[in-house]
Every structure is written in structure tokens, then in C-alpha cells.
Subunit: 313 residues, 2 copies
Amino acid sequence: MKLPEQVTIYEVGLRDGLQLESKVLTVDEKVEIFSLLQKANVSQIEFGSFVHPKLVPQMANTAAFHEHLRSYPEMNLVALVPNLKGLELAKQTGVKSVNYVFSASNTHNEQNVRQTTEQSLENFKHLSQFASDNEINLNVTVATSFGCPFEGPVPRQRIMNLIEQLLLHNIKRITLADTTGMANPKQVYQLTKEVVNEWNNVEFGCHFHNTRGMGLSNILAGLEAGITVFDASLGGIGGCPFAPGATGNVCTEDVVHMLEEMGVRTSINLDGLIEASHRLGELLEHDLPGQVAKAGKSSRLYPVPNKTTSSLC
Amino acid sequence: MKLPEQVTIYEVGLRDGLQLESKVLTVDEKVEIFSLLQKANVSQIEFGSFVHPKLVPQMANTAAFHEHLRSYPEMNLVALVPNLKGLELAKQTGVKSVNYVFSASNTHNEQNVRQTTEQSLENFKHLSQFASDNEINLNVTVATSFGCPFEGPVPRQRIMNLIEQLLLHNIKRITLADTTGMANPKQVYQLTKEVVNEWNNVEFGCHFHNTRGMGLSNILAGLEAGITVFDASLGGIGGCPFAPGATGNVCTEDVVHMLEEMGVRTSINLDGLIEASHRLGELLEHDLPGQVAKAGKSSRLYPVPNKTTSSLC
């Protein structure tokens, strides 16, 4: 089992995670979680999105939240943008990195951003030019890369073609997203292996949900294929409001725990991450799906009970 | 990614699963779940254990339950036994297959069955003789094979030595168990690969818990190493009352779903399994940890909403 020595975790809890929560966190609450993440050495954070504030009220304070983040120049702070208007708002706010998202599946893209995948690709040219003119780093996430909840399977060749067209422009990273948790490890291995082999000088990331319990096994499959960037959401919160059936991104502390247990470095302090997850649960006022924050790390040992618990008959 | 074409699922929900539940299922309720499993084509079932009825009341009706199971001669119905007395009770009940469990870690074994691992191995000789004399199939589960909650890591060489000693006797199958969910995929791959390479004519199984979310990724690692038998628990219920911190075996329907999605056959009807899981949740009167029974299969498609849910700014 060949695994990379080091991987990058891209924290999406404050964006993909929070956007499905019924409780809208205030700027102060977001800053508190952000500070805990920063203390735990999480250095790549998608902190919000420039989408319609009435349709996604959880993200309405993204610009105000960003005001508090300027004192961390060493971090990669990214905002999601669905179109040029979002990118313009990000620029006005002083954001230096954005993540443009569109779907490989037409039906999903039409639901999400009211246009076909082809139109989103066409619009991407303008975003790319704007980002370049304004020295903004541009990442792209290809949603429904592993399947669409409306259309079903998405052909591998379609993803390869989309990537080829994206790479005609200046991009920092391309993330293949399993937006509604349909991917299985074999599929992940096959697609990412092909992608990594074809473009070995491009940084590819993967974004998985744990909808059917396969989140960590999909990460394992991606690792084996050579992927070294993974999205994850603190506490395992999240989903996508526009993709029915989606529940729970892969949980950051569970991902980091698995990686560190396997000797794959993340540079993240797991104890600090667990503390941040506990605080997030308090703020959201419900149990979070993550397991490690409840069970503790595998290395946690227990005192031997004084009384035997034998079950002998 | 090389995976086997077909694997065997060994259902442990009625034993490992139920033994941590506060509600004790009646014989009729167990028979109802058993029938649903049987209809879903689950053919290997650990249905109970011969342990102390006062200490494990959930298993006190194991013999009575077995009375109802005689009409399924094509199935592999197994009872757990912790010692010779348990095996004698199993024989009196007419059970044809048993699973002898002891721990690789001394401290865990002392807590569980009041003897050292060495003593359990010594006693195993008598069980082996008794089983042979009475034409009872004998499987062995080595608990804490991937780590002990009291002692920490268990050296790989210790497991290899234990297997070597077990194989001096007549055994149908050896299962390596991650009793408290400490294993990580790399560790699973390394140990199981070594075991499979060393004894390629012996049937080895793996038993994983999802305590830290790594259950399915550990199964993936085992598959890649050549393991073709996996324990799983309907609905993901279970744990071990003698191992603090343990919660939830890997969930049968989630395991079967992942395998089938990857093209690995199980011969199990997933829809029937999901139905059994829903019924188990009703009987236990609480939410079960399994994901697929809630989210539906990856292949489940959704109608396109009439109204767009676009989030454009």
C-alpha cells in the first residue's frame, strides 16, 4: 500500500459545512471557530461564499467575516464564487483566493447555477481573465464528478474533457467533488489515477461526502492513486442544499486521525482540531457526525478496571 | 486496485450487535430479524453466544432462539463460545458451528475471560478435541488483533505466532478482530497481507468496528490484501461490553452497498437488508448508525425539482 508522505487538508466546514445548518452563525462565532482551526495549524480554509444572501443566509456575513481574517497572511483563505458577480464581490472584499464551482452534470448545474455545464465553462473564461487581471488565485471545483443525483453516472471521459478545457486557463488547483456522496473507492481510484497520470504537474484535490459511509475509504482510494489534497469539514457537518439526499462532508478530525495513524503527515494538531469540533457542536447545538471527537484517538488507552467484566458461563 | 470478485459476509448483529443494547430482544423478535436476513440471502449468521446469562442477558435466550433455526440447513449458523463449558452447552443445544474467541492482548483477555492468552490457547486444545469428537465446526476469532484499549499496539509477530499455534488444530476459519476500533487501513493491509501470504490455504476473516470512522476503509484495505470474509452487523449496531470506548461494528448494509458498487459480489439482496435494518431500528427503538438505510443507495435517482434552487448572487 503506497501512500504519500504528506497531504494537504482543505477545511470547508465554514462554507460547505455551515450552509445546511438551520442555525446561522454570527461573525463572532465564525471567528471563534476560525481561531481554533488556526491554532490547530489548519492553514487552508474555505471561509464562505459570495452567493445570494437570501437563498443562503448562512453565508450572508461572508464579507463581514473576512474583515476579521486579514491578520493571517500565511493562511490560504478561499471564498466560493458561482459566477463573475460573486468574483467581483470577492474582489471588493479583498479576498485573494476563490473557488469557482460548477457541475459536470448538466441537470445538477442547471439546478445550482441556472446554466448548462457548457455555459459555465464559457463563463469561466471571463472569471479567469478577471482573476488574472486582479491577481486573485483561482481554484475550480467540478461538482458531481462521481455521479449526479438526477442523471446518475457521469462518464469518466466527460471529466477528462472538462479538465482539459479548464487547463487552457490559469488555475491553481482543480478539485473533483463527490457532491452527493455517490462515489465508491474503486471508481475514485480509477478516475483519480487516470487524472494524475495524464496531468502530473497539476494539483488535484478531492472532495468527498460521507452520505453512504464511504467517505474515508474514498480518501484512502484517492491517496493510493496519488491525490494529496482533500477537502474535509470540521465535525463532519455539511452537505449541499441543492443536491437532495446529501448529508455530511467527510469529517476533518476523522480524516486527519486516519492519515496520522497511517503515518501520512498533515501538519495539523489533532487535539486542537477535536477541541474546535467540540466547540462547533456547542455553537450549533446538536451532535456532530464525526467519530473521533466522541471516541477519542486510537492511541487513547484506558485504565484496567479493578473488577473483571468477564462473561464466562 | 485489485479486488476479489466475491466475498462472504458473516452477520454478527444478532450477537456482537445486540449484546450492547439496553433492550433485550425476545426470541420472537430475533426470529423476525433472522427471517428478514435469511430472505435477503444472508447465509452466514452468528446468532448468539453461550456466555453467562446474568452478565450478558441479551444472549440468555440463545438456546431457545436456536430451536427456531433448525429449518435452515443450508445456512451457516454459528454461536460464540468463550470456553469449553460454552462449547458443551452449544453441543447440547444442537449447534453445528461455534466461534471461540480470545484476545491477543493478555490484559484484554484477562478482563474478558479471566485468563492469560497463553491459558486460552492451552484450553483451546480441549475445545478442539471436543469439537472434533462431536463433529462441530470450529472457528476462532482473535480479539484485539489490531490493538488493545489497555495495552496499546499489539505486535504483528504476536499475531503471527498465535495463528501458527492455532493452525496446529483443526479449524474452519480464523478471524482477526479489531475489537475496539483501533485499526487503520495501512496496518490492516500490512498484517492481513502477511497472513494471507504465509498461509494461502487457510480461510481468514476480518472483524472491524467503526469506532473512529475507519470501518469501511479497513475493509477496503483487507480486500486489497486478499481477505474475502468480513464480519458486519445489521444497522451498524454493536460493540463489546468488555472493551471501553467501543461503539458500532461496521454496518452490514453499508458494507454490502460499497462492495456491490465496486462490483464485488456478496450474493446478498441489499434492498432486503435495508428492510431488515429498518425493522431492527423499530424493535430497538432508536436510530441505527448505518448510513445507506437512511440515504438510500448511490444508484437512487431523484426527480428534478420544478423550481430551481439556484444560489446565484
